[in-house]
Symmetry: C2
DNA sequence: CTAGTTGCAAAGAGTTTGCATGGCG
DNA sequence: CGCCATGCAAACTCTTTGCAACTAG
């Protein structure tokens, strides 16, 4: 149902090596050094997204989609600090939550306006199908 | 710098009354009953986003942007449970985290694959400008 | 009054698709 | 070999913009 072609692998690895930032389809094409057409990039992004290996997001003030690597455990289950002014993301490689948030607040190097915790999984209804 | 016109208010209230789902620009225009042009809808969405009153997201498999209400405290600082199969979102009106996650896992009504906690705020660098 | 908002129509950008060719397993 | 992936170019769709008329404060 899905081959792991060298191109798709290259795309995936490009995303992996930029695991801290979300990249646009443009940037990804550029990273592949024009070894991939735009349409293939989009098709591969969509395939990888369907497999849960990356996450599509969006930047405020732009209509571009951004894609972020989520292929390894390292990129899961940890906290991001996202600056609502410059958009930069800082990663905390700590598993969860309450204690970490306390620490961050105490550090005062990042003033938290709002937190959002999303738990991804499968709900009861879907499990029974 | 920004007026709260009746149209903008209507748009905001439309989003508010659907606070559980993310709506597309289309759906929002429809909700306003053609009392607003598409361009105004986009401009208002962008204005409200800049004020942090809504959050732009994206649906997998589509190139549309989706917009979700984040205007009240109720919509902040709490956990979403997002089903990775059907995409439905369940809201837990509990402030944070560790204890809640434990409970959810114990309930076993939702099997968690992955969690993502984002703290929105302003970083050190941006604070000094 | 003045700065910001709206509608319209047109332009722009990002993304998707059809088809023929090439590659993986 | 058969099925999937790729490239190209064209087609789309969603979103943004210019301009003139209008409204909130």
């Amino acid at each position: 149902m899905s081959y792991m072609t060298s191109q798709r692998k290259a795309l995936f690895e490009a995303l992996e090596s930029h695991r801290d930032e979300a990249l646009s389809a443009d940037q990804i094409t550029a990273l592949l050094g024009e070894r991939a057409s735009r349409s293939a990039v989009y098709r591969n992004l969509s395939a990888l997204e369907a497999q849960g290996l990356l996450k599509k997001t969006t930047a405020s003030g732009s209509s571009k989609a951004l894609y972020r690597y989520t292929g390894s455990e390292q990129c899961r289950d940890h906290l991001h600090l996202e600056c609502s002014k410059c958009g930069r993301t800082f990663h905390l490689m700590a598993p969860t939550t309450d204690a970490v948030i306390d620490n961050v607040l105490r550090d005062a190097n990042f003033s938290i306006d709002r937190t959002s915790t999303v738990l991804y999984g499968v709900c009861e209804k879907c499990r029974d199908n």
